[in-house]
Symmetry: C2
Subunit: 298 residues, 2 copies
């Protein structure tokens, strides 16, 4: 039930081309990876953003309200880019119950698409809950860019739940969309590399160390953030002085040579995203810059 | 004016996503590579097939008649898959004149998209005519799969004519579509490989030898074909006994362990395609099979 793909982004495009009819909707908890919007629009779908709860857990009731007969899929990303949140098994189970209930009522079963490129990069002993056990019509897409530190090699896969009632059709459709969208195949040499390196040990503690350094910097600057459980992003609140204007605050940070992504692009106005997949030297150097940038406000 | 791509198939999808509006048409001389249909349909376009002349040259008058204000592009493939034809500079020049004339009349200038993955593989001293000199709104897409014998590594590029009036917009759009269609980037390691191997000498005479062997086999079996000027396909006429039914004749060939592609898929009913990018041993072994398959008919 596995189709090799040109990275997770290629995988998602193949899956949406396979599943979506013109006018279908895809529900995504916000904030979310900005390019999801395009992946869904590419194939005639509409992305419906459903805000998470205040602590960036899934808001199951809000997702339930957003479901309709047009819902082709719910798309979750755990660990989440940009928040670093990992959804718990309890959240996944409750989401699955809501989807099952909806399917029985409306006769159309939405797929649960789990985008998991950061699955291996978790902190504080956390691990990513499996959707396969909870919900049969589930599809995992991922890439080897992060867990094997192979960015840019464009090799990933689509895995359809073996329990999915129409798994044969979904797999056949994804093989077809992989061809006709021009991906054709996951790059040949790196298919061999990932087969060979399947059990490679990558030292993710480097990321944890950088996360901790950056959190300390932000603590000292007085910037509030969500403590990331995985991936390598920090989701930070725009200081009050900027009244939620994340675009303006990111411009302000630029003056202090800090590159941050405005939250609005991720469906999270009032926040900004920092990435800590950069050198320790850069992170160490950013401490004074963050402190100065916040002092500047007063 | 160059955007690196995930192969020529990825390049074509990015170009069509960049150029097409819902309802636009793309004109293609038939026969043509079967997947073009999908590449155009993926983004709301309609493929208009215009048959070539009897010797598989471009039928410029027929292309002119097919032009309309909805024509976004003309797509040519030289050397052609499946016919092996290389369009002459004269054909390209005449096509360019017709497109320029149409643009002046209707106010919309169609792009000329040249799919050239087999550009380096030519025979009998032939070479591929340049569209860039003839027509400013031209775009070449290609891959390194064939000219560097790197099949499966998914590395190619889109080259927009430096003389194209809106080249900056086309390049920006292709960079954007490369991202949002999930290609993201041409595989990183093989970008370095092709930079390093740019002037590598590949011995294409192997293909020429195989072409000549296969042509001899077909001559002896009494099967008519187009003499290929490039690429590695032979475009053959279905024997009269099958009355143009290429599907049935390919089924018949299978019984003799010959795998051929029915012409109908390429917009060329009554023909079938053979590929000679196979071992010399296979080609040598096919001689008796072709003779037996044709004898079987009588």
């Amino acid at each position: 039930c596995v189709v090799m793909s040109v990275g997770a982004a290629g995988a998602l495009n193949c899956v949406f081309k396979a599943l979506l009819q013109e006018g279908d909707t895809v529900i995504v908890p916000a904030p979310f990876f900005a390019e999801y919007r395009h992946y869904v629009h590419n194939f005639g779908g509409t992305l419906i953003e459903v805000p998470c709860t205040e602590d960036f857990s899934l808001d199951i009731d809000a997702i339930e309200k957003a479901l309709s007969p047009k819902t082709a899929a719910v798309l979750i990303n755990s660990p989440n880019n940009p928040t670093g949140r990992i959804y718990t098994q309890n959240e996944i189970d409750r989401l699955a119950q809501v989807l099952d209930k909806h399917a029985k009522k409306c006769g159309r079963k939405p797929y649960l698409i789990c985008d998991e490129p950061y699955r291996a990069i978790t902190y504080d002993g956390a691990s990513v809950a499996s959707a396969f056990k909870a919900y049969d019509s589930s599809i995992v897409v991922t890439s080897f860019a992060k867990n094997l530190s192979l960015p840019g090699e464009r090799v990933g896969y689509i895995c359809v739940n073996p329990a999915c009632p129409d798994k044969a059709d979904v797999v056949a459709a994804c093989i077809f969309t992989t061809r006709i969208l021009g991906f054709v195949n996951a790059p040949a040499l790196f298919q061999k590399v990932v087969a060979h390196s399947w059990n490679a040990k990558v030292d993710y503690s480097l990321y944890e160390k950088r996360r901790n350094m950056l959190m300390q910097n932000l603590d000292q600057a007085g910037i509030h953030y969500v403590r990331p459980q995985g991936a390598f992003y920090l989701w930070c609140k725009v200081p009050d002085a900027y009244k939620g204007d994340d675009m303006a605050f990111c411009e302000h940070l630029k003056k202090h040579l800090i590159l941050a992504a405005p939250g609005s692009g991720f469906g999270g106005k009032g926040y900004f995203r920092l990435a800590y997949c950069v050198s320790e030297k850069s992170i160490a150097g950013s401490k004074a810059a963050f402190i100065a940038a916040v002092k500047d406000l007063h």
